[in-house]
């Protein structure tokens, strides 16, 4: 084999490996119409939680912890108290937190001061030394406690850098460059070290453009970004534009080359030779990647890192490109998307523009060695440029530096003179003394005590200020925050143990989605009618399927994203004539709507005509939307259905008679479920939620979905277990299956005997406006009509009360509304175009309960809990639990973690404010017209979220859970790495243990330390409404005095 061939094939492999690695660092969000919650740091899930967050902070510059100011506010508000912080410090020590041994020892020189207290004071008080100007001001204005300040005087002699309070990256750089206070003679030496230090960072931390940015102040990427995004967005477009690159079918690299080759912009940007260079590029993108990397000059060991850096400059678009690379033929698209194409284009653009910048600035070719030679000859220039852009110069030298940098030609002598003058500016720091002073103030130390402790004591205090790094501080706050709420949850669970009895003859049983938004509905329903039982399960109800509704052109997968359904269920009209009429009417309506919206945008001739038609409608709609959005919305819906004349339908659940023999061919789904499949689904599902006996006459399966107007993130409010769609069809299909006598007979063979008097009903609950749709009520047996009517009444009452409960968290909702007002408000929110918060989604989620409803029934959990039904007593081996954990664990963790990350740093992990969003390519949102594709949740969705990890409480014995943990690697990753917190509640004793990956099971004790069955401190209220009162803030759990 030719050596060159060998080389290039190995390059192919290496590029493929680098692309695979990118999966760990780029956002993995699907196109927005398939938005499903997932762990933002999914790619780092193999690391422990704190390690992954530190890594994410390193690669993206985001802050993965709640802002310390907010944490302190929570502390001040009593949501975190000192005992939580103490416990968190202990836990961090157990986790192997460096230097946290001896927390209860006293500080040298301070006999009454434990280190724990010092660390706590450091967390709850801001002890960062103020900036020099403020220091001066505080001193001049006499705002200091002079005695205390004087007592800290002994610290003045400490070298400035030891204070360690300067921002981390800057400090390390400072230390590298300025071992001591800069001296006149030293800058030349520094300059020489500086160049090698800077070059060493290219590849590992920087791109070449980042280096040039630090030397010229010009960001090459600002020029590249709009050019690149236009091409990218056109290539990935899912149907917004009518005109795409003619060479789109040959892949991004080829398409870009063809377009860039005829782009006159190069000449206009004075990159004269660029077009020839593009024409001369290799046709193989991988070869281009190799050539360009060679040219750009990072050391070969860092090529992968360099590509990662480049991709991370535009994380949203890079992530979407990679996602499409991994999901070819998404939405029927035949456009080839290969990540190597993108990287090749990105590299060429980077090189061309960097080259241009270097030529304009220094009249040099783009080679690091040439630049190095230049700076070897002109060290002063390097030193001044770097110091200026790093913000290290004082005002006068800085303005001089700016002049030199802007000048077309500056003499070396001028640079040198400036370097000499600037380097002499002394840097005097009193940071050490300030840290000590502020800490002493926070600890309320007396000047005398400080004086008595002397230099040794002051040094000890100072040492404590450096004990925790920023990640450890963030982690301690998180642990404390989680613990505070966890204590309340555990106390409520313990107090609720054994309170509710099993009802031997339930009036109705309702199976909801595990969704936290259903907790309120269920609680109110049970309060209204104690004879009603509720269950919770992942909202596809054990029926993974492709669903093709009567009006759908394509089937949709209704199941968790990780599952590929094998069966397809169609909705059929009962009467063919009705269907034909309906289809004609609907097609007509949609065609006109489409014509109005499209022609006015697409057509120069038909556009004006359509505008003339549309304008009066638009004016009317705008006026009515402004005056009465709810009225207009409901009226429009009514008119639409009156016009469409939807016929009655049924779901074709079973395999059609003629298709029975047809086996699934490859990946294409099979029409309907066979009888044995149906039996398996029904029996399996009933067993998993523990509903195997005591069947009520009416069992309702309630899916859910949410509608909102004018909301690109629509899918984020729907059912996560149904891939971000409405879960109603699954409920309907399940009910149809479970009502078939053949299926019941088969289920009975599995040991689950469903009495003939039991009828299953499907329904969909709209979590936006609290409305409910019942399916197939026409075939409800007359014997069940009365029970159904009574259930409808209860359900209506429950949603009314729930609407009131929900209104308390909306700022614009009326205070203490009547039931009617509350419902009207919710309906208005749903239909209002201008409402950026149609509902709050999972914003309040914090905990998941897996167990019998008796665990949580009769207690108030403020819509903060996933409720998953599971009967521990019937599952001694833990197989049911294992399946439940495997299905619900990642879904719950994904939701909670996405909310967590979008909350702690909404700019980096979330997608910022909705009001700027601009739908791009039908696949995501940008800010303005040429920004990165924004991933994560918008600010409007996370405002009231309390950023903590999901606490999963399982009703089962420790042994069973430990065994499952041991045999399931995905759960080991999730739980063992601390992405969720797991606790068990023993079914019999009610004892609660929390799992710590390092220490094993830790028994829970209430805060006062008394291990008794009577749990103090859990408030009791008459009912939900009484406990809610007029509160608008999150409420702690409470026990409700309802007959259980």
């Amino acid at each position: 084999m030719h050596p060159a061939d060998d080389n290039s094939s190995s390059l192919h492999e290496r590029v493929a490996a680098w692309v695979r690695h990118l999966e760990h660092v780029l956002p993995a969000q699907a196109p927005i119409r398939n938005f499903v919650h997932h762990n933002t740091l999914h790619g780092l899930q193999h690391l422990t939680f704190p390690a992954a967050l530190a890594e994410a902070a390193r690669i993206s510059g985001a802050r993965p912890w709640l802002d310390e100011v907010q944490s302190r506010a929570l502390h001040a508000a009593g949501r975190i108290d000192d005992s939580d912080l103490n416990a968190a410090l202990d836990e961090l020590r157990l986790d192997g937190g460096a230097g946290l041994a001896g927390l209860d020892e006293c500080l040298p020189g301070f006999p009454a001061l434990r280190r724990r207290d010092v660390l706590r004071a450091l967390l709850t008080h801001d002890t960062c030394p103020p900036g020099p100007a403020k220091q001066q001001w505080l001193q001049d204005e006499g705002r200091l406690d002079t005695a205390l300040w004087a007592a800290c005087a002994c610290l003045e002699e400490i070298p400035a850098t030891a204070a360690g309070a300067v921002d981390g990256a800057l400090a390390s750089l400072l230390e590298a460059i300025y071992p001591q206070t800069p001296q006149v003679a030293a800058w030349q030496q520094e300059a020489r070290m500086l160049w090698s230090a800077l070059v060493a960072r290219v590849g590992s931390e920087w791109t070449l453009s980042s280096l040039l940015l630090r030397l010229t102040g010009e960001n090459v990427f600002d020029t590249v970004r709009p050019l690149l995004i236009r091409h990218l967005s056109s290539h990935l477009d899912l149907g917004m534009a009518a005109w795409h690159n003619p060479a789109r079918g040959q892949g991004f690299y080829a398409a870009w080359r063809q377009s860039a080759g005829v782009d006159l912009g190069w000449e206009l940007d004075e990159l004269v030779a660029a077009r020839d260079e593009i024409a001369a590029l290799p046709t193989d993108p991988v070869e281009t990647i190799g050539r360009e990397l060679m040219h750009l000059g990072p050391s070969e060991a860092h090529w992968g890192d360099y590509l990662e850096r480049l991709a991370l400059e535009l994380p949203g678009w890079s992530g979407m490109f990679l996602w499409r690379d991994q999901h070819p033929q998404y939405a029927g698209s035949d456009v080839p998307v290969a990540m190597a194409d993108y990287l090749a284009v990105r590299l060429v653009l980077e090189r061309l523009h960097c080259e241009d910048l270097v030529r304009r600035t220094w009249a040099l070719p783009l080679f690091l060695s040439e630049l190095g030679d230049h700076f070897l000859a002109h060290p002063a220039e390097l030193w001044v440029r770097h110091a200026f852009f790093a913000g290290l110069l004082e005002e006068a030298p800085a303005s001089e530096a700016q002049r030199l940098i802007a000048a077309e030609q500056a003499a070396d002598a001028e640079w040198q003179r400036l370097a000499n003058a600037a380097a002499r500016t002394p840097v005097v720091s009193k940071n050490a003394r300030w840290s000590c002073y502020l800490l002493a103030q926070a600890l309320a130390l007396s000047p005398a005590a400080l004086q008595a402790a002397g230099r040794e004591g002051a040094d000890a205090l100072l040492a404590e200020t450096r004990r925790l790094d920023s990640h450890q501080r963030g982690y301690v706050w998180l642990l404390a925050y989680e613990r505070h709420y966890r204590q309340q949850i555990f106390a409520a669970l313990a107090a609720n143990h054994g309170r509710s009895r099993e009802n031997q003859a339930p009036a109705a049983q309702l199976v909801f989605c595990m969704d936290d938004r259903e907790e309120g509905t269920r609680r109110h329903l049970e309060e209204i009618n104690p004879a009603v039982e509720t269950f919770g399960a992942a909202g596809f109800f054990g029926v993974p399927m492709y669903w093709r509704g009567m009006d759908d052109t394509m089937p949709t997968a209704l199941c968790p994203v990780v599952v590929t359904p094998a069966n397809e269920v169609c909705e059929h009209a009962d009467d063919a004539a009705g269907l034909a009429l309906h289809q004609r009417r609907r097609a007509l309506r949609l065609a006109w709507k489409e014509r109005l919206h499209r022609a006015t945008r697409d057509s120069l001739l038909a556009g004006p005509l359509m505008t003339l038609l549309g304008a009066p409608l638009a004016a009317g709609a705008m006026a009515l939307q402004t005056l009465a959005p709810a009225w207009l919305g409901e009226r429009l819906e009514r008119w639409r259905s009156a016009f469409d004349q939807s016929p009655a339908t049924h779901a074709a659940v079973s395999v059609p008679a003629d298709g029975a023999a047809k086996e699934p061919a490859g990946t294409s789904p099979r029409a309907g479920f066979s009888d044995s499949e149906q039996i398996e689904r029904v029996a399996g599902f009933l067993r998993s939620i523990g509903l195997t006996e005591r069947f009520a006459p009416l069992i309702v399966i309630v899916g859910h979905g949410s509608n909102s107007a004018n909301n690109p993130h629509l899918a984020a409010y729907d059912c996560g277990a149904c891939s971000g769609r409405h879960g109603g069809p699954n409920a309907r299909v399940f009910a149809v299956m479970a009502n078939r006598p053949e299926i019941r007979a088969g289920v009975a063979a599995h040991g689950i005997v469903i009495p003939d008097a039991t009828w299953f009903l499907g329904a969909e609950h709209n979590t936006g406006d609290e409305s409910i749709t019942w399916y197939d009520t026409a075939v409800l047996p007359p014997t069940h009509q009365a029970a159904f009517a009574s259930l409808c009444k209860d359900f209506d009452e429950a949603t009314q009360r729930h609407a009131i409960e929900r209104c308390r968290r909306f700022a614009s909702a009326p205070h203490n509304p009547s039931a009617d007002d509350a419902r009207r408000h919710l309906v208005g929110r749903r239909h209002d175009w201008s409402q950026a918060r149609p509902e709050l989604g999972h914003a309040t989620v914090a905990v998941a309960f897996i167990g019998r409803r008796s665990m949580s029934r009769g207690a108030f959990f403020d819509r903060r809990s996933f409720l998953i039904s599971y009967d521990p007593l019937a599952d001694a081996a833990g197989h049911v639990l294992e399946a439940t954990l495997l299905a619900a664990g990642p879904v719950g963790a994904g939701i909670a973690l996405e909310y967590y990350f979008s909350t702690v740093d909404n700019e980096r992990f979330g997608c910022g404010t909705k009001i700027m969003h601009n739908l791009a390519g039908l696949m995501g949102v940008m800010e303005g017209a040429s920004s990165d594709l924004r991933t994560g949740l918008p600010r409007q969705m996370i405002e009231i979220h309390e950023a903590m990890r999901l606490l999963v409480v399982i009703e089962q014995t420790r042994e069973v859970v430990t065994a499952i943990y041991a045999r399931q690697p995905p759960l080991r990753e999730l739980i063992g790495n601390g992405w969720i917190i797991v606790a068990v509640k023993e079914p019999e004793s009610g004892a609660i243990h929390r799992f710590d990956p390092a220490a094993g099971w830790l028994p829970w004790r209430p805060d006062d330390g008394a291990a008794s069955s009577a749990v103090p401190g859990v408030p009791v209220a008459a009912n939900s409404a009484a406990w809610l009162g007029a509160h608008r803030e999150p409420l702690p759990p409470a026990l409700l005095e309802v007959p259980a």
Binding site: A242, S259, E594, L612, A811, I915
Partner: protein
């Protein structure tokens, strides 16, 4: 019957209140501005701001409806004058308003869209840091547009014109933490200065040649010399083309989409983008006198329509796509004006504003509104790589502009700075020399060069002595305290001025006073 007559009379008289129409939103803007200056913030401050803004818009709507009803009964009053504003060498500029079919119909549409958008923004922008700033901007736009539309003369119209420009700049840069947004805001602002220059040219020539700036005189443009008429028309046409983003001024509007969705709707979809067309409609008689200008207009309009249509085909984000649709349709209106079909352009303006405003407000739900793929283009076009690239790069217009305008300006700036350093600083005693003199071990911190420099040095010595004696050695330092307090106040003002928007407001205020 008599009550009906009374009502009719009252309605007819309401036209004399026309001055209130632009004033109401302006007052609302002032109130919101004052609240902003007082530092209002938080959820509780929002309803008051919304109430002020929406109250003003509703007032405008009611007033306009009354005037329209009155006008239906009788004839439109035409010109309503409210005294002199200024008198420059015998040429009077009255505060006058035009009340005719054109102005009333456009004003009604503007007020309606403004009112609906203000309502939309109240919920949409809830809890945004720039909430009050947004309402300030929108009220200013409303005041500006209504003033422009209802103005009786070119000077009053120009004030409205400028208010629109400023508020547009404010809202493009709404997300002032994002450099792209502020940069694009500046780009739009600067491009619009060219249009303003055209407008000012028109006003100046009207003064010079016609002795009046009243629309009735200017637009009639009763000038026998075609050259003069052509020059006069050129001014207004330039202004109109820039404001309505016609070629060659199109690039600014494509970069103006950085603001929140409702502001994109009201500025670039519904209201402000039509201001140029309105100006053309106003100048109809003048334009009719210069057929070659009409032909140029038709050409510019047609070229813009095709340009924007081509660019619109490749746009993949909904706001830019809608924007290019808007520009192409406005291009059609300009073309209609050029062809002399002014009535058609007028009607189309009204309907297009309503429809496009609606479409922009609903842009976030485009995925639900028009989910199917657009119809493919004919193969000869779709397969043309060069045309595709040209459309994708928007025919390179903004980069040509960058090359022609920005770079020379930057170079000029550098030259001026050089001059400053080399000549002026030497003349007055450059502080830049301080570093050198200090190095040479001189005692004085500042050394004066040249006559002026030495004089300044002497003065500074004197002041230094005064300061030492009075302030530092003064009894109890009362003067120092006083000065300190003054200093704090000045600092606050300076901080305000440092924010470009206040500086620009000041500049504009000066501008208005000068006129």
């Amino acid at each position: 019957m008599s009550t009906l007559l009374c009502l009719a009379e009252a309605l007819a008289a309401s036209a004399s209140l026309i001055w209130l129409v632009p004033l109401l939103p302006f007052i609302a803007a002032v109130i919101i501005g004052l609240r902003l200056a007082a530092g209002v913030a938080g959820d509780d401050a929002e309803p008051a701001t919304v109430a002020v803004a929406r109250g003003a818009a509703l007032g405008v709507l009611v007033l306009l409806s009354a005037i329209v009803l009155g006008a239906l009964g009788a004839t439109v009053p035409g010109l309503v004058s409210h005294g002199e504003w200024m008198d420059v060498q015998g040429i009077q500029v009255p505060i006058s308003f035009t009340v005719d079919t054109l102005s009333l119909s456009v004003a009604c549409v503007v007020a309606f869209i403004g009112w609906a958008t203000l309502h939309f923004a109240a919920a949409y922008l809830h809890r945004e840091p720039g909430f009050h700033r947004f309402f300030l901007g929108l009220c200013l736009l409303l005041a500006g547009m209504l003033l422009l539309v209802l103005a009786g003369n070119a000077v009053v119209a120009f004030v409205g014109w400028e208010l629109c420009g400023i508020s547009s700049w404010m809202l493009i840069g709404f997300a002032d933490e994002r450099p792209t947004a502020t940069g694009n805001a500046l780009f739009g602002f600067i491009t619009n200065r060219i249009g303003d220059a055209g407008f000012l040219l028109g006003i100046g020539l009207s003064f010079w040649w016609l002795g009046s700036v009243e629309w009735s005189t200017v637009a009639a443009g009763d000038i026998p010399e075609t050259v003069k008429a052509r020059l006069l028309a050129l001014g207004f046409v330039t202004a109109a083309l820039a404001k309505s983003a016609q070629l060659p001024f199109t690039p600014w509007i494509a970069r103006a989409l950085e603001g929140p969705t409702p502001s994109s709707a009201v500025y670039y979809g519904a209201v402000m983008v039509h201001a140029g067309v309105y100006l053309l409609l106003r100048c109809e008689p003048l334009l009719l006198q210069v057929p070659d200008m009409m032909a140029a207009l038709a050409l510019a309009g047609a070229a813009t329509a095709i340009h924007a249509w081509l660019c619109g085909r490749v746009q993949t984000d909904v706001k830019t796509a809608l924007l290019y649709a808007t520009v192409s349709h406005v291009g059609l209106m300009v073309m209609a004006c050029g062809l002399g079909w002014f009535a058609l352009a007028h009607v189309y303006l009204l309907l297009h504003a309503l429809w496009r405003g609606y479409q922009f407000l609903l842009a976030p739900s485009y995925l639900q509104l028009a989910p199917s793929r657009p119809a493919p283009l004919p193969q000869w076009l779709a397969g043309n790589a060069f045309l595709y690239t040209a459309a994708l790069q928007r025919f390179w217009i903004d980069r040509v502009a960058h090359g022609l305008l920005t770079r020379p300006t930057l170079t000029l700036g550098r030259d001026v700075r050089e001059f400053d350093d080399q000549v002026l600083d030497r003349l007055i005693g450059a502080p830049r020399e301080a570093t050198q003199s200090a190095k040479e071990g001189r005692a004085e911190p500042v050394q004066g060069n040249g006559v002026a420099g030495r004089a300044l040095l002497r003065l500074s010595d004197l002041l230094q002595g005064f300061e030492t004696r009075l302030v530092l050695e003064g009894e109890g330092g009362a003067a120092a305290r006083l000065l300190h307090r003054l200093g704090v106040a000045l600092k606050a003002i300076e901080a305000l001025l440092e924010q470009p928007r206040y500086l620009m407001l000041m500049v504009m205020a000066t501008f208005v006073v000068i006129i």
